[in-house]
């Protein structure tokens, strides 16, 4: 059976270890995350132990190992957001979604990611949900925001 990521690997006919990161990036773009199977397959392709690939991939914030939810939540923890209380914001969201950063909710609706800076310091503290920015969030507004996303699901 042709695997899901074979098309990506085909683009690297004589790939060496230096192609690892571009390959992982494309795999993640295609699957939304790095599945175990895909990492094992990339390992066989590049003749690299899976542990090494896992080591490299966990070094970078950009790679994730769980399937993203329908709504991908990014919490900015850059300097400006930090000063204006993004730690509390993250805390609140973790409580609200009942998952930790890097995880996906059981209903696969939300996934939570911490990012360094999303370049919207004027809106701090800011979160982004599927690319949609929510500015100057606080404990109260978080509840409303997530309620709104949940309600969308009920309607559709």
């Amino acid at each position: 059976m042709r695997s899901e990521i074979q098309d990506i690997l085909d683009k690297y006919p004589s790939a060496g270890h230096d192609s690892l990161i571009p390959i992982l990036q494309q795999v993640q773009e295609h699957l939304g995350f790095l599945s175990e199977e895909s990492v094992v397959e990339v390992g066989k392709f590049l003749k690299m132990p899976t542990s090494k690939i896992f080591g490299v991939a966990t070094f970078y914030n950009q790679f994730r190992f769980t399937q993203p939810g329908k709504y991908h939540v990014q919490v900015c923890r850059g300097t400006a957001c930090h000063v204006l209380g993004s730690a509390t914001v993250l805390d609140e969201i973790e409580k609200n979604l009942k998952v930790k950063a890097g995880m996906t909710t059981k209903d696969k609706l939300f996934s939570l990611e911490v990012v360094a800076c999303i370049g919207a310091c004027g809106l701090a503290p800011v979160i982004s949900i599927n690319g949609e920015f929510h500015a100057k969030v606080n404990s109260e507004s978080i509840k409303t925001i997530f309620e709104a996303y949940r309600n969308r699901e009920v309607v559709s």
Binding site: E36, P49, T50, S51, K52, G55, T58, F59
Partner: protein, 573 residues
Amino acid sequence: MNFTIEVNNNKLSANKGETILDALQRNGMSVPTLCHMKGLFPTGSCRMCVVEVEGRRNLVTACSEPVTDGMKISTHSSRVIESRKTIVELLLSNHPDDCLYCERNGNCELQKLSEDLNIRERRISGQKNNYKLDVSSASIVRDPAKCILCGRCVRVCEEIEGVSAIEFVGRGSKTFIDTAFNHGLNLSSCVNCGQCIMVCPTGALKEKSHLAETKDNLNDPNKTVIIQYAPSISVTLAEEFGFKPGQNIIGIMNAALRRIGFDYVFDTSFSADLTIMEEASELVHRVKSGGTLPMVTSCCPAWVKFAEEFHQDMLDNLSTCKSPQQMMGAIVKSYFAQTEGIDPEKIYSVSVMPCTAKKFEQQREEMTQNGISDVDAVLTTRELARLIRLHGIDIHKLEPEIADSPLGTRSSAGKIFGASGGVMEAAIRTAHYLITGKEMVKFQVRGVRGLEGRKEAKVQIGELEVGVAVVSGLQNASLLMEEIKNGRNDIHFIEVMACPGGCINGGGQPIGADEEAIRARMTTLYDIDEKDAIKVSHKNPYIVELYDKFLGKPLGHKSHELLHTHYQKREIK
């Protein structure tokens, strides 16, 4: 070319191309190291070995900096000492600090460094490491909380063993060492060799202990508890009690085991002789009947698992013989139980092994007869030392005793199993007899002894020229297997041991031995062989008796049932 360097105002000679650390050590001087591993490429990551070099603004790492002519080095200036001290203080800042309960208490490099650097107060306190224990493996327990991230385990696993089961995971202060996808060792490619334990400076890696079960069974009046010890144990155990490396204390060990309460004391070297009977017969059979060659030894359970994972197309090359540990276990619960009239279910069979992979091997499902395990518990050399201390036995005051008959009597061929090349040599001695009907004139097989990672030789057996290769360290094994797969056909018999130098340097041996110590252990094994009267397995009278009374002949029906096994392909994750 020779340089002159100046170290702490003393002139020393140094060679071009060597590092400061090499030059210092050659001249009998030392600086502390942590991440440094002799023979491997330096990483310079722990900064313990820093020294001050005149004209250099920053301290330099002695392990990775090449010497230059006229270099002026200060190894213990106050700046250097302060720097080292700070590093250790930082390492201690998030360490669990449970030394009194730690396996490595008294034998810990971190403890020694803080002692040597006279650290007497906690100057830096950080958040304590909080990681889960990894107890998933049958052989090895990992405690990442005690890890100081020197990376030696990662490197030995990758560069010496070619396994790469573990790796640095995460980044910065959140870095720790783990298996792929944090699955735990059990589901990783780990072959259980335990070399990571041997290089770990702290208690972050240790064997899975079988002491508690062993003690319970020793205290159970309904159980007959027997113990077997591997060929190398008698030449390494002494080091745990302060003897110099290479002392053979087999008689004292027998006495100690009886004091502890083992009902029968047997020698795995006996079943090593049995392995040779089967394995040499198998080799001769394969050569004569056009079977799969080269035949590869199967005594080393780490190598067996490695082959099942990484060399699946060569599983037919592996000898089908069980290892000596398992052969002894099988014979104890069949022949021995029968002759002594003991119910095999009431026998608790313990082995002392230089090895952590033997703990994995013991619980393989192939290693049972009618649902009864061949072997019930496996202790490492270190665990045996602990058991002896626990029973308050002063081994300096014991009178030597001999092991029990009949499974405690060996030829010296079985004894040299403990060193890399020993299985090969023992098998050749018996194969020579099986093929030509005559004994070898000189029993020593040239070219297979020594601590080198790969040894090759040609052996003349009658009309037949046999190509043999001996490798230790699984990376070396992999390289050889690739050559065979690529068509190399001048080798007929290969011995593989996972641990560099063989079982005398196994993952269950006393921690902290250097190359000299390992060489001393090897020398003692070959000295025993030199002095022994019976140097071939097929002349061991009790082996002959075992075949006469019970097994029939090598490779026969009963042997097949009890002494041979099969292998399974394993998915690598």
